[in-house]
Assembly symmetry: C2
Homo-oligomer: 183 residues x 2
DNA sequence: ACCGTAGGAGAACGCTCGTTCTCGCGTCAA
DNA sequence: TTGACGCGAGAACGAGCGTTCTCCTACGGT
């Protein structure tokens, strides 16, 4: 097995376990077991667990935002693209293994102790916010709408993570619709 | 020192440390050091750390909601009481030692492993939501407004926790004002 | 065939931390 | 006075886990 595939398998296992059970309750040994990558190899690829965590968040960030953008772009009307974000959230919340926002969860677990993880979370949230801002601009809406839309999305993610269910997405979408219409 | 004051001192120390540094990075020994309550006493009062965590969240819940309600009630007009919630959030976010929402953070840290902690978090969020619902009803506004207002507040809390600063509260308040005005 | 190297399995190490135990001291009832 | 008891200080125990080390096997180049 070459380094590149070992890295991917390690990250696949790390993502599944970290997201599903939390970071601190997953040991490096669990990742070895789930990935088939030996401890020696793991530590060659990621000299410390923290770096594996950061790599997990980075890779997930790219995929998460990519999928969101791909979903939204299916909607040709710029105004409706904003609402499509909430549709996408609703589909995400409905997934079998949905366990809340990986970054919010990671921040709660490690934000106070790992500056790198905290940076990663802030970067992800900033990127998401920037994306929303680009949608708002493209729709010819005032910039001031970005903040509220972002807060609705964050509130929906954290609430869906805690209570389960897709209702927060629907509520957020209706609120977003109302805010957009008011402008 | 009698049991009641030992309990209070233990909870004072636990709250300060758990909230400030996260739960998992605070050991029972740290709590002993900060509270002056011996380990033996601590384990008499709280047979396991998890119970101390639950007691911390419970007591903080009572105080948090009490302070919010006290602040909101200073506003005689029912419609404005809703916005006062966001003013209160803004003041909270500005506090020196603000480190996000204790319940969201705890859920990220322990929600996956401790059912009792998860229950406590859900109960707190439900109580907060119920309180918002009572304000919405008192103001003669439609029930459907509760969800969006709750999501804005949650989004503001989680965002302020991650990025710092009070801006999320201001953004949420403006959005809330707009939603209320749009009915 | 032989050596050097990479890699895997898993033991080992060291530290943290939740929890319990030991010991000694002071207190109070009889 | 004495003995039982409560309590504090802190050592001790045991588990978990991040990280490293040992040992062994396989293989590629000469």
């Amino acid at each position: 097995m070459d380094s590149a595939t070992a890295r991917e398998q390690a990250l696949d296992a790390a993502e599944k376990l970290f997201y599903g059970r939390g970071i601190q309750s997953v040991g490096m040994d669990d990742i070895r077991g789930a990935s088939g990558v030996s401890l020696k190899r793991l530590y060659q690829l990621f000299p410390a667990k923290e770096q594996l965590v950061v790599a997990y968040l980075e890779r997930r960030d790219v995929r998460w935002r990519g999928q969101l953008a791909a979903y939204a772009e299916r909607q040709p009307d710029p105004g409706r693209r904003i609402l499509a974000v909430f549709d996408w959230l609703e589909e995400w919340f409905a997934e079998e293994d949905f366990r809340g926002c990986a970054w919010i969860n990671s921040y709660g677990e490690l934000g106070a102790r790992s500056e790198r993880v905290a940076d990663q979370v802030r970067a992800h949230k900033q990127a998401f916010r920037d994306y929303l801002a680009s949608l708002v601009t493209a729709a010819g809406l005032p910039d001031a709408l970005t903040g509220p839309l972002f807060l609705l999305a964050e509130g929906a993610m954290v609430t869906a993570g805690i209570t389960g269910g897709t209702r927060p997405a629907a509520e957020a979408r209706e609120a977003a619709r109302s805010l957009v219409a008011a402008r």
